[in-house]
Assembly symmetry: C2
Homo-oligomer: 275 residues x 2
């Protein structure tokens, strides 16, 4: 029995290298082969050793470049060659990361593995808008929800989500925005329900868009990058207190779907002292 894992499956977080955990940095430094999803940025892959073989599997929400079966087969083949393989997924591997298919392939091949969690888009996003995902007296539960399943648009407990105070982070929701909106409004959700969309959360290209359920499909129509939709949350109103770096980009105003502005990258400059 292998006491040390041969394959490490790790979460790269939302994109900012500062959001990586130490465990994942160590895994990058130790890997002989890195199999990564398309959403893992170059700055993170640069933390692998120069000798490491870095292979993009290209899997993304739509138009996968490599089928899941191919990725699993490649991972197994590399591990069988005796390589220390790092399978690096954006966000957290256990949250909409299709982790099970890959684990089952490893188990079928008798290959040891270890899973390292990563910061998932939902908590990175709520932190960026100065909010809490859960809040006493408002919601004692927070939902991580995918808008897609193997069968297409994913059903959910729309009735519960349509209630005032419901909070959910919707992943892969761009193309499903009209479906989500329709289901929620059918169950009585108010058109003016707060919604915040974060595109490329934590990256230099991050955009934070405060909108409403009524305007959600229009808001996401032009987004190119990965987006997480925060249902029931608005960017905190007292924006001056939300720390922003110069050139102090404002969050777009809540309740409007005006052209989104670029928000400050999250790279913590806390060593710089106070302005």
């Amino acid at each position: 029995m292998s006491l040390i894992p041969q394959v490490v499956i790790a979460g790269a977080g939302p994109g900012d290298p500062d959001q990586l955990t130490i465990a994942v940095i160590k895994a990058l430094a130790a890997a002989e082969v890195v199999l990564h999803d398309r959403l893992v940025p170059a700055e993170i892959l640069a933390l692998a050793t120069p000798q490491a073989q870095v292979i993009e599997t290209g899997k993304e929400g739509f138009g996968p470049a490599m089928a899941q079966e191919e990725i699993s087969a490649l991972m197994v083949a590399l591990a069988r060659e005796g390589k220390r393989v790092l399978r690096l997924k954006a966000g957290d591997p256990g949250v909409f990361g299709r982790l099970d298919e890959e684990i089952e392939a490893l188990e079928a091949a008798g290959i040891g593995y270890r899973i390292l969690p990563g910061i998932t888009a939902a908590t990175a996003a709520v932190a960026r808008i100065g909010q809490s995902f859960t809040r006493r007296g408002r919601n004692t539960a927070a939902l991580l929800l995918s808008a897609h399943d193997t069968r297409g648009f994913a059903e959910a407990d729309w009735r519960a989500l349509a209630r005032p105070g419901a909070v959910a982070a919707i992943y892969m929701g761009k193309r499903a925005a009209r479906f989500v909106q329709g289901r929620l409004m059918m169950h009585g959700a108010a058109p003016e329900t707060d919604v915040t969309v974060l595109e490329n959360v934590s990256r230099g290209s991050e955009r934070v868009i405060g909108t409403t359920l009524a305007e959600l499909p229009a808001t996401v129509a032009d987004l190119a990058g990965p987006a997480v939709i925060l249902l029931g949350l608005a960017p905190r109103a007292a924006r001056p207190a939300l720390a922003q770096r110069a050139p102090a980009p404002a969050l777009s105003a809540p309740h409007r779907s005006a052209a989104p502005v670029t928000a400050a990258p999250l790279t913590a400059e806390i060593r710089e002292g106070r302005a």
Copy 2:
């Protein structure tokens, strides 16, 4: 307007220092004062500079040593003195971290802040049992749930949670275990529904207990440390493939509430090569 945050509110993750993000390590190194919850371990606090003032606020699920209002007032007072304050919470500050009360105190005082997410217990726990929090064809949504609210035991959408395939991570569920069990079984959940309890997840003292909904109250009765309850998930059956360090501690068998065993700490030893 302060361009650089004076107070950084950060998540320390589940306890293993390797699960800290780089951003939080930087915040620890830069802080002049660290205000931390009781659950943040000494190994993490040791990453602050020797000059830093480290203050335990002692807040925990039960029997708070310092009232929330006192913590907020102390944080504001220290920031007003011009100190770089790090407010360090176990897990993720936005997930059952009572973040809003503290943010509101900062905003009322006009003090800038930045929030840094941390690995939350739920995703750390599912990674430890070789599972995925979400899984195509089983659950397209995962719920983070607190068993307590300001009014006592917290209500939830028990009907949805009682359905086969439902997956939820229940925080602060030890004292509420019988309440949770009762609500779920009232709505038709099978007594043999898989439940995994992880105490002190990611720490050296971690225990992983595979049990069932029927046996949940008995399982948690003797736990002393913080625990997360994973409803609808069993430790992966193919345990040999789950990487364990010598002296190879086994996960306790699923479907039994036998005396739990100590699982391997998560400190990644991936640099050590393969056995």
